[in-house]
């Protein structure tokens, strides 16, 4: 109990039980945004709900939400690729161990201003556009946008024509060229289909954060923020309101869900 946060009063004996409970409740509420909190020595409270409370498994996605991401480019360093590694591990990419044909859901891109020599490194993945060109061109309806804004490929319907890869202004999609084995049960992927960043949809559905965001927070520099763009109280919305940010190729009017700060 001595390890308890100083702002928390749960370690102090109180004459009345109710204020203690209230304090604990508000403490737990605060903890919910933190992810994991040490309650007492050896007791860690893992809060599953990262960006939001987990939806019940039998409930469809909430169309009021729009998941998005904010990349703080000023925090992203050139030598760090924790997000890329985490993505590969989480989704079982890179099974073929050949960079020429391995799928790439997120990649680090370097941008330079030749006039000034200013250079930055930033991750680029599927931008989960509100008006996704990949969905527009898909002849089978395999490319689709989920009600909560996540752009996905239904690989059951995908015929591998790769129109979406050509339509995507962000070069975000990959084609699986070779037979695969040992896929992750929650991330099915196979030869002849197109795929891209799913925002770790299996984790988001469980109320967790995408793997890249977690990795960036723990191993990287905390440059990635994930949350609901439609919720004005979410961390991402507050940051978007407070800081100047931009979307890549905003001129295309596809309204990407990924925003960049300090670019």
């Amino acid at each position: 109990m001595s390890n308890c946060s100083s702002s928390c009063t749960c370690g102090t004996p109180e004459p009345d039980e109710r204020p203690v409970d209230a304090a604990r409740r508000s403490f737990l509420k605060t903890a919910a945004t933190a992810g994991a909190v040490a309650l007492a020595p050896g007791v860690t409270l893992y809060v599953v709900g990262g960006p939001a409370e987990a939806r019940a498994p039998d409930q469809p996605v909430d169309p009021k939400k729009r998941w998005g991401m904010l990349v703080d480019v000023s925090k992203c360093t050139e030598d760090c690729s924790a997000c890329v590694t985490a993505c590969r591990t989480e989704n079982g990419l890179g099974a073929l161990d050949d960079p020429k044909i391995d799928a790439q859901w997120i990649r680090k891109v370097e941008v330079n201003d030749p006039a000034t020599g200013y250079s930055r490194s930033l991750p680029v993945m599927c931008q989960h556009c509100a008006e996704p060109p990949c969905v527009d061109v898909c002849p089978t309806g395999a490319s689709f946008k989920r009600d909560d804004g996540i752009v996905l490929v239904d690989k059951h319907i995908c015929i591998g024509c790769r129109y979406c890869m050509m339509a995507c202004p962000y070069k975000a999609r990959s084609f699986v060229h070779e037979p695969l084995s040992d896929q992750k049960p929650y991330a099915p992927r196979g030869k002849g289909t197109v795929e891209s960043c799913t925002l770790c949809v299996h984790k988001v559905d469980a109320g967790e954060l995408p793997a890249c965001v977690t990795a960036c927070a723990t191993e990287g520099n905390g440059a990635l923020v994930f949350g609901d763009l439609n919720d004005p109280e979410s961390d991402i919305s507050r940051r978007l309101k407070a800081y100047p940010t931009r979307q890549i190729r905003a001129d295309l009017d596809v309204d990407p869900g990924v925003h960049y700060q300090g670019l």
Binding site: E14, V43, L45, P57, D58, P60, Q183, V201
Partner: protein, 168 residues
């Protein structure tokens, strides 16, 4: 599974045909197999627990439609109930090999293959989907750690409550 109306789905005709063909073959084989002493009937592995999500005759005929319906619900709607999911089948009906690990679909003893081989129906599911449950070390370790944490939390809360009682 809102409404559980998967049987209303008109999609997946090929799957229905396949299922019907399978049933037809099984019935035919059942009727004549014993007499002729021909190819033995398949013996798919029993699942864990006492009963499947539906009775055997129903499952035999409609399992592919259930899967097709669930796949739409999951991919497009984000509904991730285990009951009618392929993952659910794989988890429950795993067949352990000599090494104690669940066999993959490349092994003829795999639950799905035991029948589909017999009916000469090739299944494409496992070109993309994992044919074995998530690695045992992960799936086993996580709930234990979780249970321990919950137990510890429970003990802590209990201690706090009784502690407060003592203060009073």
């Amino acid at each position: 599974m809102s409404g559980g109306g998967w049987y209303r789905v008109k999609r997946g005709l090929p799957a229905l045909v396949v299922a019907l063909a399978t049933v037809a073959v099984l019935v035919a084989a059942g009727a004549t197999g014993a007499r002729a002493g021909g190819v033995p009937l398949p013996e798919p592995a029993k699942g864990a627990g006492s009963a499947c999500v539906a009775d055997t005759a129903f499952m035999r005929r409609y399992h592919m439609q259930m899967l097709v319906h669930q796949r739409r619900d999951t991919v497009h709607e984000g509904i991730r109930t285990k009951q009618f999911s392929l993952k659910g089948c794989i988890d429950c009906h795993q067949v352990k090999g000599e090494d104690g690990a669940p066999v993959k679909v490349s092994d003829g003893r795999h639950f799905c293959r035991s029948c589909h081989d017999y009916a000469a129906v090739s299944i494409d599911c496992f070109e993309c989907h994992a044919s074995v449950p998530e690695e045992a070390d992960q799936s086993a370790a996580a709930p234990d750690a979780e249970n321990e944490a919950v137990a510890a939390l429970g003990a802590y809360v209990h201690e706090r409550k009784t502690g407060e009682g003592a203060v009073k």
